[in-house]
Point group: C2
Chain length 353, copies 2
């Protein structure tokens, strides 16, 4: 029972400055650091008696293992990086929200980065992520080029899943939405309503999201022997203000379309605002539909007809892939999971006589 004596000494250890270390705990409990570690990590069997002493010591010292030290030894950081292309976009805010829960559920913590659609930022961020030695990366890619700098010396890539967009020639795992299908669903709905003059405000053509949604619209129209008028096809950043001004142009132009397809939620908002400012009514003057949604869209009248992304499912799946990739290494061939959007009918589109 010699440990009762040393038990008195931990107080000095505690008072002598910083936070309690595993050595303080070991001393207080009268055991070795190996035993404390075993108790903390439940790695090997420890007798109930010692376990109790250690647990008590941990509690009284308010000890918590320092992750920096643990990470150094284990070579992991318990960190997963989420790099989104536009944090101001409610869609990605939603992703952050979903991802936080999923990441926490897997025992990791989530570091957030915003590339703001700028390749330079993306590069900086990826370097930073590497410096932090995050265990995995969830990336909404901005730069479509091959990202050689993210490859490790063996030529493999560090654990990374692309989200929402495909880049790097599909060499990374990815979770995306079927953009073509989304646009097709919306376009077919509009065509079924009798619309023939359909305009679209879509995203940048260098992104699979922008390209795919435009392609879907074109294919759906082509299937009925139609095509959008060139001046009715406009692409630009996925931003509310961009959509606002483009919508004004389109609507004020000589041949106003009868329907307008906005390729994202924030764009739809911009379009609606343009309409309101122009004193036009939807769907009486023009039908509006979109892909992707934004929170609070429920308060908007008319109710927007749109396709919605299963964001939570997509995020969970992305994280599953990432965890898997972390566990299994970079050997396996990349997997690409594509989700299907669902058409939500509102009353922002009216049939054409």
């Amino acid at each position: 029972m010699g440990w009762k004596i040393v038990q008195l000494t931990w107080l000095t250890g505690l008072l002598s400055g910083g936070v309690a270390t595993i050595r303080d705990v070991a001393k207080a409990a009268g055991v070795s650091t190996a035993t404390v570690s075993a108790v903390v990590n439940e790695s090997t069997f420890v007798s109930p008696a010692l376990r109790a002493r250690v647990t008590a010591a941990i509690a009284s010292l308010d000890y918590a293992p320092l992750s920096a030290a643990r990470n150094l030894k284990k070579g992991r950081s318990q960190l997963i990086a989420l790099v989104v292309s536009d944090l101001a976009n409610p869609f990605f805010a939603r992703v952050v929200w979903s991802a936080e829960a999923a990441v926490a559920a897997w025992g990791y913590s989530q570091v957030i980065f915003n590339s703001d659609e700028k390749p330079d930022n993306e590069r900086r961020i990826l370097a930073r992520i590497r410096a932090l030695s995050c265990d995995g990366v969830l990336l909404v890619p901005v730069d479509t080029r091959v990202r050689a700098d993210q490859r490790d010396p063996d030529g493999h890539m560090s654990p990374m899943v692309h989200f929402g967009r495909i880049a790097d020639d599909g060499r990374a795992d990815s979770v995306t939405i079927d953009n073509v299908s989304a646009a097709k669903q919306v376009t077919n709905y509009l065509l079924d309503l009798g619309h023939r003059s359909i305009a679209t405000i879509t995203g940048p053509s260098h992104l699979t999201t922008g390209r795919g949604r435009l392609k879907g619209l074109q294919e759906a129209m082509a299937a009925r022997g139609l095509a959008p008028r060139p001046e009715h096809v406009r692409s630009g950043e996925f931003r509310e203000d961009v959509a606002y001004s483009v919508a004004r142009e389109i609507i004020e132009s000589a041949d106003r379309p009868t329907a307008l397809y906005a390729a994202s939620g924030v764009m739809a908002l911009g379009v609606m605002r343009a309409l309101a400012d122009l004193g036009l009514r939807c769907p009486d003057d023009i039908s509006i539909a979109s892909t992707d949604t934004i929170p609070g869209i429920g308060a908007l009248r008319p109710r927007l007809t749109r396709t919605e992304h299963p964001v939570t499912d997509m995020t969970n799946e992305a994280l599953r892939l990432l965890i898997d990739r972390i566990a299994r290494g970079s050997g396996a061939t990349p997997r690409h999971v594509v989700f299907q959007p669902a058409l939500i009918l509102g009353d922002s589109c009216s049939p054409l006589p």
Copy 2:
């Protein structure tokens, strides 16, 4: 010039498995690890010749210092935790966005947590933050009780700034909005329009935000010898669905108020949706005003009259306080910065005849 020989050996070091370490670089450049460290950190003067060799070695080995090791030695993690109370709320999504930029500007990275307004979650998160040994915490507090577990052995608190709400008896630095003033500005505006029957849907009374906004409304009315009817004062979580159902109740009740003050942006959305569903028009049937906004509110018609928070300024200031606290330790007395909200006039309120 003996280092040319060893230069050939770094390849073996590289091929022999993992990522390059500072020792590999040192060997490749024919210098000591101390010199490499000096070059990397620009801590002491290194001659141009050596610096060049080291830089070249770093580049060819694609070396990046392992933060886990660096953090262990330096006792810092380069991480700042942001704990928000509801990631689903666009207001906090906005905070995350602003904070990301500010945090990055200070050279830190941002770890996100969502307490979801649950004290238990908050406790878990704070423990996690401690384990990660984040250098600082930006916290939207949920639990108003004293957080003893966040105090270090000296009885001081770890660097932490409260955001949006005050808790822990104001022992931590804080950045908040003047909630009373916000509610007063809105209420006075409504009163000036002639409204006398003003209802409010406000936040939980245990939060300074909920309490303050109610207090502002009451004080503004009291200043004119008025008071809201008890059944017109409803408090609940800051959520869209809560506001929706409460709004329906209030509006469908016998004595419908002529104006309704929603204490937050999402609540205002819920109210607007309730109005739309009930087939009522704003401001003809009832005037609506709120505090705090949500992105995309610009598309909403009528334009909402509201007070807005200078979110970016608030976030920047919070981070400034936090950095300061990190640098200066926990000795200094806590500072509390209060921002003033601005009244934005829309057309969701009409004068009463």
